[in-house]
Symmetry: C2
Subunit: 670 residues, 2 copies
């Protein structure tokens, strides 16, 4: 295509770009809330990108070989909504633009994945859009390596602002993209020199072009208001052998007569006068939200142009070898293959029958060795702790810049970048990503875990070394509050399996949770098998279950998770010797227990006094415990020492459980 040609015969580039500007001004003004500056500044870039390059089909927003567009500067949401509206995406009507930022509208303050057609990922928390896009671009390479460029061949475009580039995650993202030579990733940086506090120069002096080049990108600067320069830049970027950053020199709030180029246009309605001035400057005589027919036609033509390739793609897809197409469909469906369930079943049986003590991170590794061939679209990885997280399945080959047929990603020492890239891989589709680090470093990746939960995407965080049981590395590396703080995130499943059997059940549930991310917290240290009797049923599915029921009723019930369940079992056995009848309940997942039927919950909880046991803080345990019940766990940071010494130091021992159980049972009898 001749990209330097005019975008449309029906309307000029300037008219089309101005249509985005006025819609952004009008919507923010009506809401009296929002960010007009960025949409007005980047309208030229967006117009060129969407009219001349981006491939998509508003009639089928989920068409899998579409180009991905990520508005990393999510506060500029009106730019995206204006585009989606004018291009005819379903549901993004004029009425919805008029309800910008109002309750239950399709046009919330920041773009929300799953809520508005055409929104590829939820953005707003700065830097994450870019890092998520890296995951999308990586997924494209992985999928293309499997199914060929005939049906997988698309670009990932990102618009980011200065904020995204100042955030630390941008470093992790661009370093990973540069290392992997993700040549189909194109970043359009809104280089307007303005942030909320004022000029960028108030807080930043980074030479961004040099920085990106140092990370293995191609980078250059253009006039972000010159459509031909924009088109030439994108055209050139599309043939790069590296990811490309195009610094688009723009004026924030372009067209606002007195506020353009200042931070006062960033995040507030412009006001009537300023809008009138801008309209006059654009020679725009139409009412708010009113777009003249010739411009509507031009955008409609652009949508048709963008969708052109869809039918050709369908033809190519139809000609695929039946077996390949079935595999492609299966991968994209996100379905879990039957072989996975068989593998879990076999693993559980072997573990419960023969199992010697084993760290659950090792159990996870051994299970993954079986799951990986069963579910060929699993993509593993670790933030440089592969041997400690035990995340690399036996048949997994590492992904390299030269070879994307592998299935294991060395994410580097980039927990946050990994988590965001995993979100991008999941959003792109075709794969189920999991990645490992230490549980304590969930704090580093937390903002991306939250975003996964908010979007409802299936990513699996394998977080090992899940308590003071990690021992000598000390309090900086020992999670204490992390189980609680992760359980606090809505729509996140936090599993802490007690042994190899529960580890397999956790993996099965995490894989089945198509709309929910999961954390699987695993021990560094060996744990005995507590599930000695094989059960076909996934007992972890209801979040908690009775592991040991004493005959003749309960004097006390011990609730444990993970490494502490075996302590509870041993305590119960010894209590039996002194005539105290203790039940043991394993609680591998609080969220699933909270969602279980109330009569089931009541039966598990029982009537006897309760003790919770977890080498972590009590917060959150009120799902099980009342104010009179007991708890054995942590109330401070940990310490550096061998694990055994630490469990003693912090009083998380069989003896402590017995003493507390004895006292509670006695008070009960009294």
């Amino acid at each position: 295509m001749n990209v330097l040609a005019r975008a449309s015969k029906s309307a000029t580039h300037v008219e089309m770009a101005n249509s985005l500007r006025v819609l952004a001004m009008d919507a923010v003004e009506k809401a009296n809330s929002g960010h007009p500056g960025m949409p007005m500044g980047m309208a030229d870039v967006a117009t060129v990108l969407f009219t001349r390059f981006l491939k998509f089909d508003p009639a089928d927003p989920a068409w899998h070989d579409r180009d991905r567009f990520v508005l990393s500067a999510g506060h500029g949401s009106m730019l995206l909504y204006a585009l989606l509206h004018l291009l005819g995406y379903p549901g993004v009507t004029r009425a919805e633009l008029e309800r910008f930022r109002q309750i239950d509208s399709k046009t919330p303050g920041h773009p929300e994945y799953g809520h508005t057609a055409g929104v590829e990922t939820t953005t707003g928390p700065l830097g994450q859009g870019l890092a998520t896009a890296v995951g999308m671009a990586l997924a494209e390479k992985l999928l293309a390596a499997r199914y060929g460029a005939e049906i997988v061949d698309h670009h990932t475009y990102v618009i980011s602002g200065d904020g995204c580039l100042m955030e630390g995650i941008s470093h992790e993202a661009i370093a990973l993209a540069g290392h992997l030579k993700l040549s189909k990733l194109i970043l359009l940086w809104d280089d307007n020199g303005i942030t909320i506090d004022g000029k960028v120069s108030l807080a930043d002096s980074v030479d961004q072009l040099a920085r990106f080049e140092a990370a293995g990108w191609r980078a250059f600067r253009i006039d972000g208001h010159d459509p031909d320069a924009i088109a030439a830049a994108i055209e050139s970027a599309r043939s790069s052998d590296r990811p490309v950053m195009i610094a688009c020199k723009t004026v924030i709030g372009y067209g606002a007569p007195t506020k353009a180029g200042t931070h006062s246009v960033h995040g507030a309605a412009l006001g009537k006068e300023e809008i009138a001035g801008a309209r006059a400057g654009f020679a725009w005589t139409h009412d708010p939200f009113e777009i003249p027919a010739n411009i509507v036609t031009a955008w409609t033509e652009a949508a048709e142009h963008a969708a052109r390739e869809h039918s050709a793609w369908k033809t190519r897809y139809g000609k695929l070898d039946a077996k390949i197409r079935a595999d492609y469909d299966a991968d994209l469906s996100g379905a879990i293959r039957p072989a996975v369930f068989a593998a879990v079943e076999a693993f559980k049986q072997a573990a419960s029958e023969g199992g010697a003590p084993q760290a659950t991170r090792i159990s996870s590794q051994k299970l993954l060795d079986r799951l990986s061939p069963a579910q060929p679209n699993l993509i593993g990885g670790s933030a440089d702790l592969t041997g400690s997280n035990n995340t690399k399945a036996a048949d997994m080959k590492s992904v390299t810049p030269e070879d994307f047929t592998g299935r294991y990603i060395h994410y580097g020492i980039r927990e946050f970048g990994m988590a965001a890239a995993m979100n991008g891989i999941a959003l792109h589709g075709g794969f189920i990503p999991y990645g490992g680090t230490f549980l304590v470093f969930a704090d580093y990746s937390r903002p991306a875990i939250r975003l996964a939960a908010l979007m409802g995407v299936r990513v699996i965080h394998v977080l090992t070394h899940d308590s003071i049981g990690l021992g000598e590395d000390g309090p900086t590396h020992q999670p204490v509050e992390h189980l609680a703080s992760l359980r606090a995130i809505p729509n996140l499943l936090v599993f802490r399996p007690a042994d190899a059997v529960e580890t397999a059940e956790a993996w099965e549930l995490a894989l089945k949770a198509e709309k929910t991310p999961s954390v699987i917290a695993l021990s560094r240290q060996n744990l005995p098998i507590v599930r000695r009797e094989h059960s076909q049923e996934n007992l972890s599915e209801k979040g908690a279950y009775v592991l040991r029921e004493p005959e003749g009723g309960r004097d006390v019930t011990l609730f444990g998770t993970g490494s502490e369940v075996s302590l509870a079992v041993e305590a119960a056995e010894r209590l039996a010797g002194e005539g105290v009848k203790a039940a043991v309940v394993s609680v591998p997942c609080f969220e699933l227990f909270a969602a279980a039927p109330s009569d089931y919950r009541r039966s598990v909880l029982g009537q006897a006094p309760r003790i919770g046991i977890e080498a972590a803080i009590r917060q959150g345990w009120d799902i099980v415990l009342g104010p009179e019940d007991g708890f054995i766990g942590m109330s401070s940071f940990g310490a550096s020492a061998p694990a055994g010494d630490l469990f003693k130091k912090f009083g998380i021992t069989v003896e402590a459980i017995i003493a507390q159980a004895r006292a509670l049972a006695a008070s009960q009898r009294a």
Copy 2:
């Protein structure tokens, strides 16, 4: 000094460096746990730095004008412990080296601030040491600008590994340091090309020198095993007008005969054979932990050399103008000036007597306008949300690369970097830092907040827009689980004041908490004054207090925090109209309430049924609520809409409180 001269007449450089290597090998071997590779690789660099450049005084580790040394690669702790031991730091005895990583030793797995003399900051979570050091170097500039180079003139040296430079926070840190031209910051990068997973090239291709130069640093590479090259490099770095990064090309595990230069030497004991081979290579014939007298002497001489300047400094300090010295002492003492308490008192009185509704972020701003002149070592800042966080006091001038007399830091869009720099400012001493962002973005800075809590340093996080009350920006910007997840961190005070009065009380308590970081969560929206009666006493000090006590006993008690307290008050008043006696308790700080005397807690809690009200999740509320009590708050992510619509949508209303209170009170009577 002639830095190229030999370090000592008593022993050669090689002998001294090898003494560090063998101690690291021996300690890790004895613990059978730890990281020998980095200490062995960086022993030459550390020897040159500590014997020829660093100024410090083991007899007075807290001497304020010492150079700061930060081991950002904290896993290499044995390098630091070996140095501290050989230099004669108090408590770091041979016996403690032999108890490396054992319970209650002075030599935990990672260096812990406040635990071992000579450890400037706790490190281990990668990247944070570097970012904290940026805060220290910034504090040095700020203090020197106030008191002159005569008594404030020291460098900050950092040793980091590849991990620190891959972490996103390194970007925020080096961009901030480069922008501010922190010329006394010198980073020694252990450029050994190895990470846990294998070679760095497995996951990273960044040209680090180019990257640092892009961020405004001077950067160059040297042979990290050539003492003269190391000395020349540091000498040159000390006269730079910018921060300097020296890439020290080293061999990880230098001297280990078969494992050197590989990842197998990174994080595990070397084993007897390998150690024997290394000793042979070093021609080291001494027993484990045994250092020959000539080398001990050489290190002792180095310590004397390093302390040389201390007495000259004391002389200069003694000659200071008395008023200046008193100010300097006051700033360094960390004491809160009496004028602060007077300002708080006056502010409270004015607010309770005359106060119109006000957002607590605005109240905080107005209070800061008074606190800032009262406490001249307060250092404010924001991660580019100055106008939203309301963090810039009226008399605060911005710090610029040219002028460090200001007291307000534009941290840029770098929440994590800001939080870590705040830690560094606090650790350096002389200042009390506070910094602002939105509460939801505490997730970005969380790892540094945790580290502040672990270290026990006074930093104050002003986190505004503290609920769905922020409105239109939507769920990406609305904290829901953040109060709970912050309350989960040990040794952190989380304040959520209900009005202007409590805002002042929260600030007072945060300033007084010398060993504890604080979060002050503030509303975007206006809140009525609920404390209409002035009290000299700080009622927030016990964490919760009765705001409204009905006559004739309670039918129900309503517990609220922040913006929901006024809802509780209104509900109680309306309930009184229908004959239901409702008490209202304000709970500005859970941690302080948990620590209050139990009889006080009982009196506040009362016997009546309870309802907790907070526009956030219930997790953590069991500090107040039992399983039968009520809760009005959030159980999902928020949404984008005007705040009023959201409180209705999520059922956080006076009507909902009344309905629940009515039902609970009735069930009580039944």
